[in-house]
Symmetry: C2
Subunit: 597 residues, 2 copies
C-alpha cells in the first residue's frame, strides 16, 4: 500500500492522517541538508509538490465536513464581507482609471478567484478578491500612463498582469514563499495599520467625491449615512461580543452585523421624501456579463509596442512583490494560531495558482485579485465554533466576590472549501442582470461606511495602538504580570516608533505617483527586523513586543518548518503578550475589519 | 454666649459646627411630638426658620472656602452646562410661543435665579435655571390660550406665575417639603427617564425644524453636527473616566468636555466653503437688555379679565407641583449620598425663594426658573475633589495576577456659593451686546447635540436601564454577591414595568395639549410607591430594587429627619445595590447629563 492510499484511508477516519502529516512535515525542509540539496533555488517545484501531496488527502473531507450550519452562515457573511469592500474599491478605481475598471470587472475577478481557490487551492480558507491596494496600484499606473498615451492603458495593464504572473510562477517554482516564515508582527502590524489608514482615507475620499459630483445636500446626507453605518456595524459587533442575551443570539448579531446594517441603510436611503430627493449617488452598473467599456473581454495585448511591453515588467514585479506579502500574510492570518486548525497549509501551490489568476485577469482586463488581508481571517472566524465559557477567579475578599469573566474558546473550525465555493457562485449570480439592478440601489455612502468599518477595525485592534494605550495608561492600574512591564518604556516607544515610521512612509508614498513602490517599503521591514533590530533590542525585549506572525505548526510545514530562532531562545519564549492575553481573556472573535496577530 | 455666636465661632475653625448642627438636626423634627405640635400645618414657618438658623452659621465659610482651583473650574463648566441647555430649550420655546420667550428672557431668568440662590439660597449647590419642562409648560399653555385669544398670553402667564408663587409660599410656610423625604428611586428614576426621553425628542424636533426652515442641505449638515457633537462630548467624558494619561489631564477632559466640544463645533460650522454656504440656522438674538417682543419688561398683568385670572390659578398650581418635585429632587441629587457634604440643606427656605423668583419672572414675562435636574448634581461634582485610588484584589492564581482596579473616591467637596454667584455674573455678561453677537454665531444644530448629550446621559445611567441590562445579561457571568440575584426575576420585571408605565404615560401626555398635567402623574408615583407597592413586593425585594433618594443625614435634617421606615427595617438594609457598587468600583463621576441615584 502506498503512502497516498494509506493517507486517504486515514483521512476518512479521523480527518487527520497523522502519519502522512508527519512524513510531509518532515519531508519538506531544508534543515540538515548538505550541499546543493540545501539550496531552495536548485530544487524547483519541491514546495509545490509537497504542498499538493500534503493537502490532497484532505480533499474529500473538505466537502464532507461542510454540512453544518456554520457553512451556511459563513457563506452569507463572507459574501457581504467580500463583495462590499470590493465594490467600494471599484467605485474609487472606476473614477480614477477613466472608467476602465467597473463593477462587472470586479465581480468577474472576484468570482474567478473564488472558483479557482475554492476548487484548486491548497488553502481554501484564504478568501481571494479585490483589495484597496490593487485599486491604488491600478489608478497610479493610470496616472503614469496618462502622461504618455492613455489609450494603451488596457494593453499595458494586460502586460503588467502577464509579467506579474510570470514572476509569481518563478517564485512558486523556486520555493521562495519559505521566507514568509520570517514575517513577524513588526511588519504585519505595520502593514495592517497602513491598510487601515488607506481605507479610512478612501472612505473620506468617497464622501468628498459625493460633494463634488452631487452637491452639498447629498454630500451631507452621505456623511450621515456613512457615519451611522459605521456606528451600526460597530455597535452590533460590540453587542455580539458582550454577555447580554443568549449566546446563540449574540452569535447571530456577530455573524450578520454587515447584512443587517447594509439592508437597513440601503433601505433608509430610499425612503421617499427628503431622503430620496437628496439624490445621493448609487453604484454605477452596466449590462450584465459585458465589460464596462465597449470592448471584448480578451484584450489585444499583442498590439502593444515592444518598448511598453518591457516597461510593464517592473510593474509586474511590483505586483508580485505586493501579492507575495499581501496574499501570504492573508493565508497566515486566516490560519493563525488562535484557530484550532488541523489541516495543513500550502503556500507554494497557492502562489502558483495566484499567478494563474493574475495571468487570466491581466489579459481579460480585470483588476488582479489576491488574498484579502482584513477579510481572510474573518472567513476562518465565521467557520469557528466558539464557546463562551465562564472563568471564575477566586478572590481573597470572601464568598460571593469571585470575579466571573467570560472567556471565549475556539473549540473547532469547520475546515472545508464549500463555503468559499458557494460564495463564488453567489458572486457569479450577482453578475446577472436582475442582481445588478439590486446593486444599483446601493448608495455610495454605504461604501464609505464599509471603508470606515474595515479600516477602523484594522486600526483599533492593531498592536501599535495597543502598545500606545499601554504606554498611555497609568502604570499603577496595570496587572503586575503584564509582560510589557518587563521592558523599559523607551524601548517600547522605540519599537512602535520604528513601526510608525514604516507606516508613515508607506502612507505618504501612496499619495504620490510613486505609490506603486509601496510594496518595496513593506517588504524592507522584514530584513530590518531580522538583521538590524536585534542590534538595538535585547532578545527578551523582542520576545515581549514582537512575535512570529506564522506560528501554527500545520501551516509552517508548508514553509519548510519554523524559522531559525536566535540563540538561547525556544519557541515558547515568544509571544508572551499573546499567550498571557489568551489565557486570561480567551481568544477574541475576529471583527470584520481587524487583522489578527 | 448664645447658640448662634457659638456656632459662628466654631464654623470659622472647623467649618463644621458640630454643636449647632446636632441641635438643629434634632430641633426640626415632628417625631415624638404630641398633640397639635406634631401637625406641620399648625406650625407655619417652622421649617424655614430652622433652615435659616441651621444654614446661616456657614455663610462666612461659603465665601472663604471658595479660594481653590475647583471653584474656577466649576464656574466655567457650570456656565456652559447651564447656558447651553437653557438656550436649547429657548430655541424650541421661542418658536412655539409665538416668539414671546426669547434668548434675552431666558438669560434674564437664569441670571436672576443664579443671583437670588447664590446669595440668599440655603442650598447654593442647587443650580436654578430654565428647564425643558417649563418650556413644555409654556408652549402647551400657549396652545391652549391660542384657542381663545392669543393676545392675552403674556398677561395670562404673568398670573400663572403669580398664582404659582403664592402656592410656593404656602407650601414653604406650611412645611410641606418634608414629604420629599419619601421620594425613592422608584419615582426619581422614572422622572429621570422621562426627562431624558423628552430631551431626546426635543433634539430630534430641533433637527426636523432645521429641515423645514432651512431645507435639506442645512438639515443634513445639522444632523451631522448634532451627532458628532454628541460623540465628542461623550467620548471626552468616557476618556476622562478611563485610566489613560495622568489623573490631572483626565480631570481637565472631564471638566471641560462641553467647553472644548462647543468651541470646536461652533468653529467647524463657520469654516468657509460648503459648510458656511449651508446656512444652518443660528441662535436668534435681539437687542441687549430688551425683551424679545416690543414691550416693557413689566407686563400689564392688571389688565387681564378677572375670569382669566382665575383660569390661571390651576395652571399656577401645576407649576408649583412641577417645581415641588423637580426643584426639590434637584436639591436632593445635588446633595446626594456619594458627595461627602458637611453643610446642611434647607428645603423650605429655598422653596420660599423659588416662590419669589417665580413671582418676579411671572410679572416680567420670563420663563420660570427652577432647579435643574440633570445639571444640579454636575455642579456638586465639579466642586468635588476626586481621587482615583488603586484597589488590588488578590486572586488565587498566584503572584502577579492580582486584579488592579481603579476606584474613584470623592475625598471632599468645596462647598461654597461663589461659583454659583460668578456663573450668574457670567450670565449677566452674556446679556450684553457683544456677547449676544457671539451667541448668534452658534448653530441650532449644536443645541440638538446638547439635547442628545443631556438626554442620553439621563437615560444611560438610569436605574431602569441598568436593571434591564441586568435582566438581559447571561446569569452565569454575574458576580454571586449581586443583590439583585436575591430577587426573583419576574419581580424585577414587575418593578421596572411599573416604572416604564409611569414613564410611558408622562411621555405620552407630554405630546398632547394635556401636557401641563404631567407633574400630577409624576407626583402620583410617590403614594403608589408608599402605599400600594408594599402590598405587591416583599420588604426585602423593595430594599434591593429601590432606595431612598435622599439619604444624606445633613440634608434630611431639613426634612424633619429620616422617613418612617417599614417595621423590621433599618436604614442600613436599604440601598444594597448602591452600597455594593460603591464598595467595589467607587463612586462614578457625574456625567453632564446623568441623574445620580
Amino acid at each position: 500500500m502506498s503512502d497516498r492510499d494509506n493517507a486517504n484511508l486515514e483521512s476518512n477516519g479521523s480527518h487527520e492522517p497523522q502519519l502522512t502529516r508527519e512524513k510531509t512535515t518532515k519531508s519538506y525542509t531544508y534543515e540538515n541538508l548538505k550541499g546543493w540539496r540545501g539550496l531552495r533555488i536548485l530544487r524547483p517545484c519541491r514546495g509545490m509538490y509537497h504542498d499538493v501531496r500534503r493537502r490532497l488527502p484532505y480533499y474529500p473531507s473538505d466537502i464532507t465536513d461542510a454540512f453544518t450550519y456554520r457553512t451556511a452562515a459563513s457563506t452569507i457573511r463572507m459574501y457581504f464581507v467580500n463583495l462590499l469592500p470590493a465594490l467600494a474599491y471599484t467605485l474609487d478605481m472606476n473614477r480614477r482609471t477613466g472608467f476602465f475598471y467597473g463593477v462587472n470587472e470586479s465581480l468577474f475577478a472576484s468570482a474567478l478567484a473564488a472558483m479557482v481557490f475554492s476548487i484548486l487551492g491548497a488553502q481554501p480558507l484564504t478568501i481571494v478578491g479585490i483589495t484597496g491596494l490593487i485599486s491604488l496600484f491600478n489608478y497610479t499606473i493610470y496616472d503614469i500612463i496618462a502622461i504618455y498615451d492613455v489609450s494603451i492603458y488596457p494593453r499595458f495593464m494586460a502586460w503588467t498582469g502577464i509579467w506579474g504572473a510570470i514572476f509569481h510562477w518563478l517564485m512558486a517554482i523556486f520555493n521562495a514563499c519559505d521566507y514568509m516564515r520570517y514575517v513577524t508582527d513588526f511588519s504585519s502590524e505595520s502593514f495592517g495599520m497602513y491598510v487601515g489608514i488607506i481605507y479610512m482615507i478612501k472612505g473620506v475620499e468617497e464622501l468628498v467625491n459625493e460633494f463634488s459630483i452631487e452637491g452639498a445636500t447629498s454630500g451631507y446626507l452621505s456623511c450621515l449615512i456613512a457615519i451611522l453605518y459605521f456606528g451600526s456595524v460597530y455597535g452590533l459587533e460590540k453587542l455580539g461580543q458582550s454577555t447580554v442575551w443568549k449566546a446563540w443570539f449574540r452569535g447571530i448579531l456577530a455573524d450578520y452585523a454587515y447584512v443587517f446594517t447594509t439592508l437597513f441603510w440601503v433601505g433608509f436611503s430610499h425612503i421617499p421624501g427628503q431622503l430620496k430627493d437628496a439624490h445621493i449617488s448609487k453604484v454605477p452598473v452596466s449590462d450584465a456579463f459585458r465589460p464596462t467599456q465597449p470592448r471584448s473581454w480578451l484584450l489585444d495585448f499583442w498590439n502593444l509596442e515592444v518598448k511598453w511591453v518591457f516597461v510593464a515588467m517592473p510593474f509586474g514585479f511590483l505586483v508580485m512583490l505586493l501579492f507575495y506579502y499581501d496574499h501570504n500574510v492573508s493565508s497566515i492570518t486566516a490560519q493563525a494560531r488562535q484557530f484550532p486548525l488541523k489541516k495543513p497549509g500550502g503556500f507554494h501551490w497557492d502562489f502558483f495558482l495566484l499567478g494563474c489568476t493574475t495571468f487570466v485577469s491581466g489579459i481579460l482586463g480585470l483588476p488582479l485579485p489576491n488574498g484579502l488581508v482584513p477579510q481572510a481571517p474573518v472567513h476562518t472566524d465565521s467557520l469557528t465554533n466558539y464557546e463562551t465559557k465562564l472563568k471564575v477567579i477566586a478572590t481573597a475578599e470572601g464568598e460571593g466576590t469571585d470575579i466571573r469573566r467570560p472567556v471565549v474558546e475556539a473549540t473547532a473550525v469547520v475546515e472545508q472549501r464549500v463555503s468559499h465555493f458557494l460564495m463564488g457562485l453567489a458572486l457569479i449570480g450577482t453578475m446577472t442582470g436582475p442582481l445588478l439592478v439590486v446593486l444599483h440601489t446601493m448608495p455610495a455612502a454605504v461604501f464609505a461606511g464599509v471603508f470606515f468599518v474595515v479600516g477602523w477595525g484594522s486600526i483599533e485592534s492593531n498592536g501599535i495602538v495597543q502598545k500606545l494605550v499601554f504606554l498611555s495608561s497609568e502604570e499603577r492600574f496595570l496587572q503586575r504580570d503584564e509582560p510589557l512591564l518587563t521592558v523599559r518604556r523607551r524601548k517600547i516607544w522605540a519599537y512602535i516608533g520604528l513601526q510608525a515610521l514604516g507606516v508613515a512612509a508607506t502612507v505618504a508614498i501612496s499619495q504620490t505617483i510613486a505609490a506603486v513602490g509601496f510594496p518595496v517599503l513593506i517588504i524592507l521591514l522584514i530584513p530590518l527586523r531580522t538583521y538590524l533590530m536585534p542590534r538595538w533590542f535585547s532578545l527578551h525585549e523582542l520576545q515581549v513586543v514582537d512575535d512570529l506572525t506564522c506560528t501554527n505548526k500545520a501551516v509552517l510545514a508548508s514553509l519548510g518548518g519554523a524559522p531559525t530562532l536566535p540563540e538561547q531562545s525556544r519557541e515558547e519564549d515568544w509571544g508572551l503578550e499573546r499567550r498571557r492575553s489568551e489565557q486570561r481573556f480567551g481568544v477574541r472573535r475576529q471583527r470584520a475589519g481587524s487583522i489578527k496577530r
